[in-house]
Symmetry: C2
Subunit: 332 residues, 2 copies
């Protein structure tokens, strides 16, 4: 198996991507090889500077870089030799079996759609988020591949999320909930009321409506929502985590007592920190494309990149796309 | 000034409402009187059991109770003598100047709309949420009075939120942001792209799009969003707070070291807890109605009720509705 990395994507690129690739390659044990896609001279000079050994890592040159703030649609059109574009092309051509990018999310989505296309039966791809929760983690989708959705999209997100939760989180017959603002089927927006009907008739293990608090409560394995709501939730959740972290940090800096207390509480605080550290969870797959694209956090460090590579490996090995296809076909 | 309390509303009613009313009444110092609306015998028996002195508290009998889980529209129609319905009627008739309810939110909204109606120039009322943030607090609206909104509603939420932030939080020329999934004006859903245009032309101190993380970052004073997104965010935020609290509690229970650490860290942990305790913030006003309804958290304890009463007093005293009216009229 070969996994292509967008070496120029992310706030800490290319250094963190190279370091993460090297860490992942050391764990590969013959199961996969890596392709770093980016500016060859920059990548080679960093690799030699760090003294990395790169036995199972190849470099493919891509001269252009799409920055985090560029408009995805325009950037994809103008920068045909951008690292993310070249990486998804390598995947399309069969040179790579998956792509990992911590770069501009919109560009990764647009480039994946352009090169790889959608899976048959899927109208819109969706980013599957992982939220830590009381049942060991909840998948929330869409996390922001879309800004507007219609009810049918949410039904399709249900199939994709269920396949992913089953194969990657190991949940049998995953429970799928619809994010809404009330428990009863009559509650919610026009979108969610219609989506509720579709999901109830879908053959999925549909648990009905869930609310904002149920994401972390772990009431279901998969939470289906539109890309707008999912993206707001993701960004809010990250910021809450930082906010609490900062309250604790400031408290410790201001007082010796608190500093001593923090030493005693270290395992608890570490557990909190670990729960909130996206680097632990690897990347988020873009589900519904005819291929495998794993999207890493923009702020990914080497550990996050390593975990994203391992997430890509699992995704390919367990054939999540095959399982999505079967679920879609069964309903048609 | 007279403030009517829905004495039967909330998970801990009527006890917490009565206790909270008594606490508030002790602080009234002649500024306001309270009316407890609910089952007279129940209220009197609890008051005498507790030995409360109720000099400036009157009881108005209302035999019906709307439970937290009842469908608001149906309940309002069928239970014409429900405590929340009688309370809003007292307000309409001028017997009371404001209503406080920690009961079924939908019923409080529906009953307020039915008895008091909308303010001229406002199409939809909105619940103004208070989120703790790095700038001392951010107002987010709508928190769930609506399940579907059109762009014009979001513009109106901007006027209402700005008036509230100015008079209650003391922010001069409050910055208003539009919750979206990207910073550029071209980003987002159809709803937010159109609302962006309206807000940019509104005469408000419009700061453009903000994202999920900006609510807590305190980038703006007011965040405008549809009732669906706002309600999901509110419920998610509360659950995250509990989740972190539980991680710390469990850690302390499992280990003596952590328990000792927590003793040393008490001020920091207390600050965290206080940040997250809705009881500190009193209730959330339903803006845009032709009257004053303060909605308390369903789980309100006596302290939360007391703070909701004080919030109602401030709202009336500072004439937030008058300021909303002026803002609306200036734009027409």
């Amino acid at each position: 198996m070969r996994i292509a990395l967008d070496a120029m994507g992310g706030d800490n690129a290319p250094e963190a991507v190279v370091d993460g690739a090297v860490e992942a390659a050391q764990l590969a044990d013959g199961r996969f090889e890596l392709i770093l896609v980016g500016r060859q001279d920059e990548l080679e000079s960093y690799i030699s500077k760090r003294g990395h050994s790169t036995g199972n890592i190849e470099i493919v040159h891509a001269p252009d870089v799409i920055s985090m703030s560029e408009s995805p649609a325009t950037a994809i059109r103008r920068k045909r030799e951008a690292s993310i574009v070249v990486a998804t092309k390598l995947h399309k051509e069969g040179v790579a079996d998956a792509v990992v990018s911590a770069g501009n999310t919109g560009a990764a989505v647009a480039s994946s759609l352009l090169s790889l296309g959608r899976m048959p039966g899927i109208d819109r791809p969706a980013i599957a988020l992982f939220f830590p929760s009381r049942n060991g983690g909840t998948i929330v989708l869409d996390g922001g591949a879309n800004s507007d959705n219609v009810p049918m999209h949410l039904e399709q997100f249900g199939y994709m999320g269920a396949a992913y939760a089953e194969l990657i989180l190991g949940r049998k017959n995953p429970r799928v909930g619809l994010l809404n603002i009330g428990e009863e089927s009559s509650k919610g927006s026009e979108l969610t009321r219609e989506a509720h009907e579709l999901l109830a008739a879908s053959g999925l293990n549909f648990a009905g409506n869930v609310e904002g608090m149920d994401v972390i409560a772990g009431k279901v394995d998969v939470v289906v929502t539109d890309g707008f709501t999912g993206n707001v939730l993701l960004k809010f959740a990250e910021s809450v985590a930082h906010y609490f972290g900062d309250i604790i940090k400031e408290g410790i800096e201001e007082s010796l007592r608190a500093k001593i207390g923090a030493m005693f509480m270290k395992p608890v605080l570490r557990k909190m920190g670990k729960t909130l550290d996206y680097a632990e969870y690897g990347g988020m797959p873009l589900l519904g494309i005819d291929g495998v694209t794993i999207i890493g956090h923009g702020g990914s460090n080497a550990k996050a990149i390593k975990n994203a590579v391992l997430a890509a490996e699992s995704f390919v090995k367990r054939d999540v796309n095959g399982s999505i296809l079967i679920r879609i076909q069964e309903t048609q």
